[in-house]
């Protein structure tokens, strides 16, 4: 209740009510008094004038048949409608109107004001000179009609005052609403702003200039708050992006360091093992040459030589991963041609339930490096892809395009070629995807894979200054995206390259 009274609207209405409660009764009493005075004055004026004229007329009546003439005059007075009592006192004689009912003589003194004596009759007497004697004329005027008019006028006044009060109340309610509505809207908007919705515009239309100015001031404050808030949010976003980039770079650096460490270790081991393997291969080959063909010993030595070759091949792949490749051909070459060559080979070994599609919009995308290594990258990625679709079949899509987007992890920005290999196979689980480029990491059964394919791909791409990313969704497929820097125009073309 207290809160209700404390609202602007309630207070305005209360003020109007208090003012009316104080002034309306005074107004009514004042107007009533004026009305009453007016009617009373009019009545008194009328009866005094009328009685005076009657007295003057009576004074002018001829002495002959005075009584008859006086009664006739009094009859005329009675017929005026406002006189209820007439009497002429001539010494001991009393004449009254023949139209007046007989009644006892009135002993009451004269009235000098409206309402005197409370009998609703205004008695007035005039002394009339009739020669040497004085005759008294007494008339009584009915006050009741005037009293009724006064009462009716008071009723009308009361009705008018009550109507005025009601109209004032309605106007005050309306006016308080007009004044309070913009304030309430402003209050609600300010609450929304205070509640965090700083974009809630403080917009209200009011004809009251003070309210309008208050709205403008608060709106400018809100806009400043919005600006400061947006600046703060922008700074926070920038910091978050920077933090994410920093964490990503940190993660990549750790990954690179780990792969580099593994590569160094594997390369060292492979190098030493290659030194050991060389005499084994050499002497077993010599022994095989000295052994008669078809003998059991030749057969055993042949197995040793074959195993030594497989070991050398494995070592070569380890060395490739660890960048200790023995690459001799480095120059600019057409990536599309290399991709087409590799796909021609893949089409021969990929089962028919796997559809191979090449999407290469650009004709001449040239990269710098050893095309055989890029060939190996394509073969490895496509092999993994078709193996993922081996049972169910699917689609192998190879896309090739160039982009201006910087290669992740590369400091030097420039145009790069993008080789994308997408399959619709079983996909890679999220827990596995972080380890796919690590050497010797495989999800295949023992004997089915060495775990070196993707690590070799990673090593080749990194050695060419590129990067490789992987995206996969389980049961939907995997996409490997290889970024290679596009060869500068000054780079020499390789022999036999069409471009």
């Amino acid at each position: 209740m207290g809160r209700l009274i404390n609202t602007l609207r309630a207070r305005l209405i209360a003020v109007v009510l208090v003012i009316h409660a104080a002034l309306v009764p005074l107004l009514y009493l004042g107007v009533s008094a004026i009305v009453e005075e007016g009617y009373a004055d009019s009545f008194v004026n009328s009866v005094r004038s009328f009685s005076r004229l009657t007295a003057d007329e009576l004074e002018a009546v001829d002495e002959k048949d005075f009584a008859l003439r006086a009664v006739a005059l009094l009859d005329g007075v009675m017929l005026s409608g406002q006189v209820v009592f007439t009497e002429v006192i001539d010494g001991s004689l009393r004449f009254r109107s023949s139209l007046q009912p007989e009644s006892a003589p009135v002993q009451r003194p004269d009235d000098f004001d409206f309402g005197d004596h409370g009998d609703q009759v205004y008695y007035i007497s005039h002394s009339i000179k009739r020669g040497a004697r004085h005759v008294l004329l007494r008339l009584g005027f009915d006050e009741a009609p005037t009293l009724q008019r006064i009462a009716a006028a008071k009723e009308r006044t009361l009705t008018a005052v009550l109507t005025f009060t009601l109209a004032s109340l309605i106007v005050s309610v309306w006016l308080s609403s007009v004044i309070a509505r913009p304030m309430v809207r402003l209050q609600e908007a300010a609450k929304r702003v205070a509640g965090g919705d700083v974009h809630a515009r403080l917009q209200m239309s009011s004809s009251i200039s003070e309210v309008q100015e208050l709205n403008q001031v608060l709106e400018s404050m809100r806009q400043e708050l919005v600006g400061a808030n947006e600046r703060l949010a922008c700074e926070i976003r920038e910091r978050e992006v920077s933090e994410r980039k920093r964490l990503d770079l940190e993660r990549r650096l750790l990954h690179r360091e780990r792969i580099a460490t593994i590569g160094t270790l594997a390369g060292g081991v492979a190098h030493e093992f290659n030194n050991i393997l060389t005499p084994i291969l050499l002497y077993s080959q010599l022994a095989l040459n000295d052994t008669p063909p078809g003998s059991a010993r030749a057969h055993d030595l042949g197995r040793i030589v074959a195993a030594a070759h497989r070991a050398r091949s494995l070592i070569k792949r380890i060395l490739t991963f660890s960048r200790e490749m023995d690459s001799t051909e480095v120059g600019a070459f057409s990536l599309r041609s290399t991709v087409e060559e590799a796909l021609a080979l893949m089409r021969a070994i990929v089962p028919s339930n796997v559809e191979i599609t090449l999407d290469a919009q650009e004709e001449d995308i040239r990269v710098s490096g050893d095309p055989s290594l890029v060939h190996q990258v394509i073969i490895n990625l496509c092999t993994n892809a078709y193996q993922a679709m081996r049972r169910s079949g699917g689609r192998l899509l190879i896309r090739l395009w160039s982009t201006d987007e910087p290669i992740e992890g590369q400091e030097e920005a420039g145009r790069s070629a993008v080789l994308e290999v997408t399959d619709t196979g079983h996909g890679i689980d999220a827990s596995v995807i972080a380890h796919v480029f690590e050497p010797f990491f495989t999800t295949r059964d023992v004997g089915e894979g060495t775990g070196l394919g993707l690590s070799v791909v990673h090593g080749i791409v990194s050695s060419m200054g590129g990067a490789i990313t992987v995206e996969s969704t389980v049961d939907q497929g995997t996409t490997f995206r290889v970024y290679l820097p596009i060869a500068r125009s000054a780079a020499p073309a390789l022999a036999g390259d069409s471009a």
Binding site: R48, R52, D110, G115
Partner: protein, 152 residues
């Protein structure tokens, strides 16, 4: 009931005064008379002329302008004047006087607030005409009653 509500305090006081006077009047009759100086040429004035005189209308008698003097020594006498001579209410009388002064250039009656001063004025002016209680002029040989205006 209605009448009793509309009685003002002034009226109530007047009523009390009238009742008091009425009580006194039971012993002796009061009357208001029109008076001039004893040697005044005015012998009689009819009611219309008296009315004209006190409404400010110039009244000449034998070429001499009569001087009306309104006696305002007491409230009842004032009421009798309005009822018997002016034959109108106080507001209407004031209005008539203003109209006479402003439109016709008449002079309003001289007003005196005590009977003593009225008597002095009448004694000093043979053309002066005023009204007084009968008792105030009963033994005054310098004045002459020319008409009874009102009798209780």
């Amino acid at each position: 009931m209605e009448c009793s509500r509309i009685l003002s305090s002034r009226r109530a006081l007047l009523l009390l005064a009238l009742l008091f006077c009425a009580a006194l009047g039971s012993a002796s009759t009061q009357s208001v008379v029109l008076v001039v100086r004893a040697d005044s040429p005015v012998t009689d004035l009819d009611p219309v002329t008296v009315r004209k005189l006190f409404l400010g209308v110039p009244v000449l008698l034998n070429g001499r302008l009569l001087h009306p003097i309104r006696n305002r020594s007491d409230a009842r006498l004032d009421q009798i004047f309005l009822q018997e001579i002016a034959a109108m209410s106080q507001a209407a009388y004031d209005r008539q006087i203003l109209i006479g002064v402003n439109r016709q250039g008449w002079l309003p009656p001289e007003e005196l607030s005590s009977s003593g001063r009225v008597l002095e004025r009448l004694s000093s002016d043979p053309n002066a005409v005023s009204f007084l209680w009968q008792k105030d002029v009963a033994r005054n040989s310098q004045l002459r009653v020319i008409r009874v205006l009102w009798a209780d």
